[in-house]
């Protein structure tokens, strides 16, 4: 019999994210409820109330104030965390650009939920895809373990002095946020050995006064944005490096940190997808492969920065590609599809878009196997 692994637990995703946050020891947490995110902040409130974490919890009066409070606290030199979903994230919209423009490495968990109307509390990626251009790093997770690990990695990546950008850790609302799975949890000393203490170089300090959030004239504005873009692009290597460090310390990693490939080596047809649906796709691929179909999956873990080179390489051999989007840019097609198609413009593969799982509609294994014949042939709404 194997010795009992005391750090192997069965835990719901919301709690796992809260536990990961506890281990990262933020000093200020802003909390505001919204389904399906609420579980995360409830667990954190409990963690702080029972003195398992020394942090200030601010029960703000809106998501706009949640992110604003994080901005104020992070600018004062403190690690911060908040969480949101859907309308809440939409309400934060203007502040997301300001958080990234001020180069504040705030980490926020998102339990992905669609946007009204019609009002609907269930999962798709409309909320975070709509924040694609806000200058936040975006990581999408497939499992509870990945959500736990990514939360810890997100702090390290965001706070890297080469980057200093905020990060979203996205988990599919209900489909992942409310799912319990086996989780290999980490101990405080393990996380301490991985994530250095947060030390802001530029902060609000009466001893050394600086002005943050200044007015930039046309003469300077482009330079600010170019610097942000350079930070975003240089984060590609930092993400890979942090993923490697995580692997060497904790024996787990997620592809190269940007994308993950499943049975793509000899695949003629490839699905590209994000988030929890990748688990269903893996199973569907196994089933189709038994029938001799050469199908594979490229999972985009990091959507911002967009992993161009990695995606090009991973799709090089595929004849036909389907991008599964859990969101739609009305008047065009799925947001991920549009970007992948632009990336592959000089490649020979045929590429189609499956808009699927909107507003919590299940994407079943059968949906995947039945759509296989349309890969690279036809756009579908599933």
């Amino acid at each position: 019999m194997k010795p009992k692994n005391k750090n192997l637990v069965f835990m719901e995703c919301s709690e796992a994210i809260a536990e990961a946050v506890r281990l990262c020891e933020p000093g200020v947490i802003a909390t505001y409820p919204i389904t399906p995110q609420t579980g995360i902040i409830e667990h954190l409130a409990d963690i702080v109330a029972t003195s398992k974490l020394n942090a200030e919890v601010i029960n703000v009066e809106s998501e706009h104030s949640a992110i604003s409070a994080c901005i104020g606290a992070q600018a004062t030199g403190i690690r911060t965390f908040t969480a949101s979903s859907s309308q809440g994230l939409a309400l934060m919209h203007e502040m997301l650009f300001i958080a990234s423009g001020l180069r504040l490495p705030i980490v926020m968990a998102i339990a992905n939920r669609t946007l009204s109307a019609p009002i609907n509390i269930w999962n798709d990626h409309s909320d975070t895809m709509a924040q694609r251009d806000s200058g936040w790093l975006q990581f999408y997770c497939e499992t509870v373990q990945e959500a736990f690990d990514t939360t810890i990695m997100a702090f390290k990546i965001a706070e890297s002095n080469k980057i200093l950008l905020p990060a979203m850790v996205c988990v599919d609302g209900f489909t992942l946020s409310h799912v319990s799975e086996q989780l290999q949890i980490l101990e405080q000393k393990q996380v301490d050995s991985f994530l250095p203490r947060y030390k802001a170089e530029f902060l609000l300090n009466p001893e050394k006064p600086i002005t943050m959030g200044a007015l930039a004239s046309p003469q300077y504005f482009t330079e600010f944005k170019k610097q942000q873009q350079e930070a975003m692009l240089s984060s590609i290597n930092v993400i890979k490096e942090v993923n490697k460090q995580f692997l060497s310390k904790f024996k787990r990693s997620y592809g190269d940190g940007l994308i993950e490939e499943y049975k793509t080596n000899d695949a003629e047809k490839v699905f590209i997808a994000l988030g929890s649906v990748c688990g269903t796709i893996r199973e569907a691929i196994d089933e189709m492969r038994k029938k001799g179909k050469k199908v594979g999956l490229v999972k985009i873990k990091t959507f911002r920065p967009f992993p161009e080179k990695e995606l090009l390489k991973a799709t090089k051999k595929a004849k036909k590609i389907a991008v599964i989007d859990r969101a739609v840019s009305l008047g065009n097609l799925g947001p991920v599809f549009v970007e992948v198609k632009a990336l592959l413009k000089n490649c020979k593969n045929d590429i189609s878009n499956f808009i699927a799982g909107l507003g919590g509609k299940d994407i079943t294994k059968r949906d995947i196997t039945e759509s296989e014949k349309f890969i690279g042939e036809k756009n579908l709404w599933i």
Binding site: G27, H64, S65, C70, G72, A73, T80, E94, L204
Partner: protein
């Protein structure tokens, strides 16, 4: 200490000649002291004082957006509490960023009891965008969105200090740049109180109100003497009125300003009645506990 060493809002900012709000900023800088962190809402004072790569501030300051100065201040206050640091936190916003778009965030931050002082520089309009009507614009004032004609502002000015005082445990005061020592003393008092505090300071806008650049202080003084902008404090729920015995008619105040030039005798006498009623009410409340906090 030399007099100019107390200054923390420095020359070189881009405010208009005669700007009342800039005078208030100087007073804030002096009264706040070195150990302070400021956050400022989008608006005139933010724009004129922080044009990159320059700054008028010798205090740490952050501007993030328009409606969220109070929320940003709560984050700063929480971070300082976490670090066990005793540093003043001051949020600054114009009346638009308080009476209108910033009201929710302010109410939330007050109710949560953060240790911070919120200062509203009240120039009675959205001055930064070219003088549009706000919830602080007084009855009868012409703005670019309440031009003369049938669209004259007909709404009363929102009673913001009383709204703030309805939040338990707050210190509230009105102030006026014509009485700069009083304003600075109220800032110091608010910061020492350790309570969530609100000071609303009367700051004329020369361009928006159509007044002469050298009339700012004269007009401010008249605002007090005519009772259109009474000065009071609300502490522990008790209101303390700084009584005014000058009894100068409101006409003297209104006539100095282009924004009221369309008012006829009838409207002016109605405004006089409102001012009198409001002042009599405040007098009758003076010294009484009017809020349970």
């Amino acid at each position: 200490m030399k007099e100019n060493e107390k200054e923390r809002f420095m020359p070189g900012h881009g405010a208009c000649a005669g700007c009342g709000a800039a005078i208030a900023m100087r007073a804030i800088g002096r009264a706040a002291g070195k150990n302070s962190i400021l956050t400022i809402a989008t608006g005139c004072m933010e724009v004129v004082s922080t044009a990159y790569p320059l700054t008028a501030w010798k205090l740490p300051i952050i501007h993030s957006a328009f409606e969220n100065a109070a929320a940003t201040a709560s984050g700063i206050a929480a971070a300082l509490k976490h670090q066990k640091k005793k540093t003043n936190v001051i949020a600054i916003a114009g009346d638009g960023g308080v009476f209108d778009i910033g009201l929710q965030a302010l109410s939330g931050a007050l109710e949560r009891g953060h240790k911070f002082l919120f200062i509203c520089y009240d120039n009675e309009a959205y001055a930064n965008t070219g003088v549009q009507r706000s919830g602080a614009t007084p009855l009868g004032a012409v703005t670019t969105t309440t031009p003369a004609g049938k669209h004259d502002s007909i709404e009363f000015k929102k009673n913001m200090p009383f709204i703030v005082a309805s939040h338990a445990g707050t210190y509230v005061a009105t102030a006026n740049i014509a009485f700069i020592d009083d304003f600075e003393n109220k800032i110091k008092k608010a910061l020492q109180s350790g309570k969530p505090s609100y000071i609303q300071v009367f700051t004329p806008c020369t361009i928006g109100w159509h007044i002469n650049n050298n009339d700012t202080i004269r007009l401010s003084k008249l605002a007090y003497q005519t009772n259109i902008y009474p000065l009071f404090e609300i502490e522990n729920g008790i209101i303390k009125l700084m009584e005014n015995t000058s009894k100068i008619p409101i006409e003297n105040y209104l006539n100095m300003q282009g924004r009221f030039k369309n008012l006829g005798k009838k409207e002016i006498s109605e405004i006089q009645k409102d001012v009198d009623k409001n002042y009599e009410l405040l007098k009758s409340l003076n010294g009484k506990k009017i809020f349970l906090n």
